[in-house]
């Protein structure tokens, strides 16, 4: 296999560390169904799952492992929180930088006339004060939920979630934070962040495999269930109620994925999220500086606080054409709208999309310079 320059880490990270792969293999070979049977291999699996809940709490500065819910991905977690908390005759606020994992469930709720749910979109491209002002201006008497991304998957901008949370607390609004892009590369402390629910993807900067994600509930409020089924608890009861996490975890969990996620989190925790954040910043600053000096390159949505993501176009070429040329040189980026059409509208790339280079701390300066060279040759 050719050596690739992989700058598509916002989609998923590759080259997972050996500890992640070994954990998944171990789970597939040795662990049974957690929380179902009473034999040693089932209890061992349950213990490993609980250890992952603890690891997630450690990473996010939280202290209730039982409030960590495992899902298939961040999209499922967001659907679970949004649809689970949505009430009839209510109003939802989302940012213009949300992914379709937020836009679509909110739109689906609003499209169901029987629910009488509406939503507003605030402008996420402003500075922090502008964002807070615009967010506040969208609040209505019946606003129940706000959904805000921790960091844009399009341009990497880190949103002032803690300040939005302060407003939400005063108004009694449930704040759901989409941390698909921030978890693992931006320091997160749930106690200071103030979000009621934090949704995460396991396979991006947490270095787990695809097929595992989750949500951390920091509120006593419980959402309605999205799906129901067996959860190993209180099984004679046809209602899937009871305490978290089982009341939101119907069906067999992805034990190999969760064990591998635990290993991934340990891997990044050993390096340190602050260290990862700093390394990323150094890399993305270098890439930004390099591309800024290439004639014909236009960069969009730069902000001071950001994940290692850069959005750009080259002259009047389509983003797909640029990504195609890069691929011929074994360089992986993502083009188009990145499942976040409102962000592209805001960043004035709504017609043809743009090229997204998203880095990881495992990338090197040499790769960035080679990438910049390829761009300069287009």
């Amino acid at each position: 296999m050719n050596k690739y320059i992989y700058f598509d880490n916002a989609a998923t990270t590759v080259n997972k560390p050996d500890c992640v792969i070994n954990s998944a293999v171990f789970a597939m070979q040795k662990l049974a169904n957690p929380g179902r049977s009473g034999h040693d291999l089932s209890l061992y699996a349950a213990s490993e799952i609980y250890e992952c809940r603890k690891e997630i709490c450690r990473l996010f500065g939280y202290d209730k492992p039982e409030n960590v819910i495992f899902t298939y991905n961040a999209t499922y977690a967001l659907n679970m929180a949004i649809k689970g908390f949505a009430k009839n005759n209510s109003h939802i606020i989302i940012s213009s930088f949300e992914h379709n994992s937020v836009i679509r469930p909110v739109h689906a709720l609003a499209s169901d006339e029987s629910k009488n749910i509406s939503y507003s979109v605030f402008n996420a491209s402003l500075d922090d004060n502008g964002i807070l002002y615009d967010f506040s201006s969208k609040i209505r008497a019946n606003t129940e939920i706000a959904v805000v991304t921790l960091a844009s998957n399009v341009c990497g901008k880190i949103m002032p979630v803690a300040k939005i949370a302060e407003i939400c607390k005063k108004k009694g609004i449930i704040l759901i934070c989409d941390a698909a892009q921030g978890a693992g590369c931006v320091p997160i402390n749930l106690k200071s962040l103030g979000a009621d629910v934090l949704c995460f993807a396991g396979h991006k900067s947490l270095y787990g495999p695809q097929g595992v994600g989750g949500a951390v509930f920091c509120t006593e409020k419980k959402p309605k269930t999205l799906i129901e089924g067996g959860n190993g608890a209180n099984s004679a009861n046809p209602n899937m109620d009871g305490p978290l996490p089982e009341s939101l975890e119907a069906g067999t969990l992805n034990t190999p994925g969760i064990c591998a996620l635990k290993a991934g989190i340990k891997y990044i925790s050993k390096i340190g999220i602050e260290e990862i954040y700093e390394r990323n910043l150094e890399l993305i600053d270098r890439l930004t500086e390099n591309l800024s000096s290439v004639k014909g390159v236009k960069i969009y949505g730069l902000s001071a606080k950001r994940t290692p993501t850069l959005l750009f176009n080259v002259r009047d070429l389509s983003s797909e054409a640029v990504a195609g040329i890069l691929n011929e040189n074994n360089v992986c980026v993502r083009s188009g709208f990145h499942c976040a059409p409102k962000a592209h509208m805001q960043l004035k790339t709504g017609e043809n999309g743009a090229v997204r280079a998203s880095l990881s701390f495992t990338n090197t300066k040499k790769e960035i310079d080679a990438f910049s060279y390829y761009i300069s040759r287009i």
Partner: protein, 78 residues
């Protein structure tokens, strides 16, 4: 058997209880209950030597671990 069985709401709470007790050096073991009919379905609990009954209760209370029921080992739930 000279032990008590703390019945909790789920395997997650059984693991939480186990973690809490082990941090305090208290020997314990998570088990699935054997008499599911009397609990109204599957459930889990944690077995602790009887000598630690009161200290275990205090630990569970301080850690927010709700105990559904306490029985002697080998009695109602196995």
């Amino acid at each position: 058997m000279n032990c008590v069985f703390f019945i909790v709401s789920s395997v997650t709470y059984a693991m939480k209880a186990k973690n809490a007790l082990e941090r305090h050096g208290i020997p314990c073991r998570v088990e699935k209950i054997k008499n599911v009919a009397s609990l109204g379905g599957c459930g889990f609990g944690i077995k602790v030597p009887k000598d630690y009954l009161s200290v275990a209760k205090n630990i569970f209370f301080s850690e927010g671990i709700n105990i559904a029921e306490i029985t002697d080992c080998g009695a109602k739930y196995g």
